[in-house]
Amino acid sequence: MQIYLDTNIFYHAYCPVEKGSIIDWLFEKLSTEFQGVTSEWAIVEMFRALKKQVNLGIIEEKDANLALDFFLVEIGQMVQDDKIILKPVSFKSIMAARELIFTYNLYAADALHGITAINSNVGAFISTDSDFKYDLGTVPIINPLETNFKEKIMNFFIE
């Protein structure tokens, strides 16, 4: 079983925002049997998201880079341990994103994540973005900030 991890899940894991502990719980659940999948694009989005916090005067650049180094090391370890699969941004996925962009008027990155999730046959798309409400076929969108999140995840272990 695999679940797709939207970029905001990593942001919640490595930045001091609400409900970080439930994201910690999710990462602890990842294993070779219950893998997280994400696009390589999530990494560059994390770079930009942390730089944005610097631009907004929230943190110093050195602290943003400390957070990113920690994020990169942990991602590297999870990939090596087969707990996370990093999907490349392939030309195939770029071409497939076209239909999502025109059907749902999606932003490019939203379409890229959506199509990567669909093509990976994941069991769920995990995102804290309550506005991400697009039809990903049979892939349900689950928000960790909503109630019953743990229950919904634990159902994957029962099935």
């Binding site: 905001n8 942001y11 930045c15 609400e18 989005e45 943190i59 920690f70 990155a109």
Partner: protein, 78 residues
């Protein structure tokens, strides 16, 4: 991929190869890659994600954007 040549104590390599033969570690490459990650992690000094978040909370001058705000705003920068 980049090849790196390093000199390592014979005893350490012998011990590593024993662990590989027991199936505890896949191969030397896996051990060295894992070692690099662990070394950097150790240098950074954070014990966990929660530890990093606690550190950033102390350093922040005002509240971080929420996950939704931060990622949504950069996706709409296009």
């Amino acid at each position: 991929m980049t090849n790196i040549s390093v000199s390592v104590d014979d005893e350490l390599v012998e011990w590593l190869d024993q662990l590989i033969s027991k199936g505890f570690i896949k191969n030397r490459s896996e051990a060295i890659r894992g070692g690099i990650y662990s070394f950097i992690l150790n240098k950074l000094g954070f014990k966990s994600k929660a530890d990093l978040r606690e550190y950033l909370k102390k350093q922040q001058k005002k509240d971080f954007q929420t996950g939704k705000q931060a990622i949504r705003s950069i996706r709409e920068e296009e």
